[in-house]
Symmetry: C2
């Protein structure tokens, strides 16, 4: 089952059920007005939403045309956004780019930061910034899950059963602000502006065999200004699965329904090394920081600039037949005001 939120001038938008091929949708207002309302009462609402999804698949004339450009993020705002860094390969590369060493414990103890969740961008909304000088605007292509209510102290195995929905994410990062913030010791804040999520959120069963062991085993297609930039497999080199990430988040407190947990930037190793651009036969990258780090190692300095006003980023995932699963995140960087 696929769900989306259409913009309608309200803060939380309007929940719709979307056909598997993303062509049509049916308003879900009779079941739940918003996705948060559905998650708050999932046991009662889910069967009604699934009935709408069945109608869409059975009757090709049912519903209205679905437009990704009309979408807000599935949760336009959420009560929690906790982003892991499960591709430890990425963490190691970014740290090396900053000249910082990575502790060995990072391979066994998940990294996770608390993100801002009050004002997500829609999947086609621009990334609006006051400056593109020095802030180091970067995309981060990720997979994210939405949970039901999670009790404190949940095990990773139990947590896997509490994944309600799966989405893609652009965790926008301001690389130029990160070193200063991390030096202060309180984690990211200004360096992590509003994130954007894919038009559709999909139930795990809607992903078929690609969803297993708490991971999504498909390439994440990242584009930059219309060119393929990354196609790293989200199921490969994911050191911690979503069950482990949720359990980490719930160690000392329960998590409310509608909590979003992110995977961190998807990143694959290549022959034990840091990987290569797509043009050179590699799977490329899901953020600019990685390629800049490799350029620094190879040539002494980064060549690829961070995002400038006018640059366009896309994030998508397709099935075996090349059809978009979640719809496409496609954002342009624009100057504020």
């Amino acid at each position: 089952m696929k769900l989306a939120t259409l913009k309608n001038g309200t803060r939380d938008g309007r929940l719709v059920v979307v056909s598997a091929d993303l062509s049509r949708c049916l308003g879900a207002g009779g079941a739940a007005p918003t996705l948060q309302a559905a998650l708050d009462d999932w046991r009662a609402v889910e069967p009604e939403l699934r009935a709408l999804a069945e109608t869409l698949e059975r009757d090709a004339s049912a519903g209205e045309p679905f437009g990704e450009t009309k979408c807000a993020s599935p949760l336009p705002r959420a009560y929690q956004w906790a982003d892991g860094s499960a591709y430890v390969n990425h963490v190691e590369l970014v740290r090396r780019a900053r000249g910082a060493k990575m502790p060995e414990s990072f391979w066994t103890d998940p990294l996770m930061y608390q993100g801002g969740s009050d004002s997500f961008l829609g999947p086609r909304d621009p990334i609006v910034m006051p400056t593109d000088e020095g802030w180091g605007i970067d995309m981060e292509g990720e997979v994210a899950v939405v949970t039901g209510d999670v009790p404190m102290g949940v095990t990773a195995e139990e947590a896997r059963g509490l994944v309600r929905l799966v989405m893609l994410c652009n965790d926008v990062s301001l690389r130029g602000l990160i070193p200063g913030e991390l030096a202060k010791g309180f984690g990211f804040f200004q360096s992590k502006p509003s994130s954007a999520f894919s038009p559709c959120a999909v139930t795990p069963d809607g992903l078929g065999g690609a969803w297993r062991e708490g991971k999504l085993h498909l390439p994440l297609l990242v584009g930059l200004n219309g060119e393929p930039f990354g196609r790293a497999d989200a199921g490969t080199d994911m050191t911690f699965d979503f069950g482990q990430l949720i359990a980490h988040a719930a160690k000392s407190r329960p998590l409310g329904a509608g909590t979003i947990i992110g995977s961190g930037t998807v990143s694959n190793r290549m022959e034990g090394g840091p990987g290569k651009p797509i043009a050179e036969g590699g799977v490329g990258y899901s953020c600019l920081a990685e390629i800049r780090m490799i350029e620094t190692i190879e040539g002494g300095a980064p060549k690829t600039p961070f995002l400038r006003f006018g640059d366009a980023v896309s994030i998508e995932m397709t099935d075996a037949d090349g059809r978009s699963i979640f719809g496409r995140i496609a954002q342009q960087v624009r100057r504020a005001g």
Copy 2:
């Protein structure tokens, strides 16, 4: 005007307007069912809430009895909880207790972390933990504000005008988990379990002259197991006012209505030094970490233990006549399960 949220079995509770003396309340359902709904549409809803408040003050028989024990936190869950550390004195002491030096920039650049906001505790709810061994359970007495919609890049002066409500907070901290988390560089997560807020949230004009220049100029009364533990003045030694804290939070993104911004642990210096317990003529402390640090300096080791199962913490603020302004946070630490 004072607002509170009564528990009613739903996730967001039921909004009520409370009389200035905290004796009675009137349901606000006709204006807005929940506090978040009121904040989402404040311009339209505020006059209706104020009319209810006037009825309560004019007619001593109006309303139902108000019970602090029936309260959830004013926002039982929120879209954002960003906690500053505006009492730099406190930051310096806690760092010294950890053997860490504080950079000079901390006096000019606010510290702030993104907190979890999906599952706040009610003001009289227990603090439930699986263990009190090694986790270092501590209270942190704070002042917090709730904002309206804040545009990206807001100035501190503009931000002061966007403070909708003021509350007290117990920002529960797990001191034993902090050093390990901060060493990982991503800030607090497991070390900051669910916070609790005061029964009432009060509009700035409801605080009279005590609210000025973006600060609340009254002592924060912290109790431990029935004994006075702290009475530091929240308007003294607050290096950054709430306007500055909000502007810091909004540097690279807008803040959604209902964002909660915390002051950090209230802490006063004394004669240039770290202060003394109330019993020794000082204003005491708003958390255990501070007194433990001073004990360490004076005697080589801390004497005051962190909170154990059964310990009780209270946080309150009274007006010139000794009447409670926000109602009392009063929580006991209990074992999970």
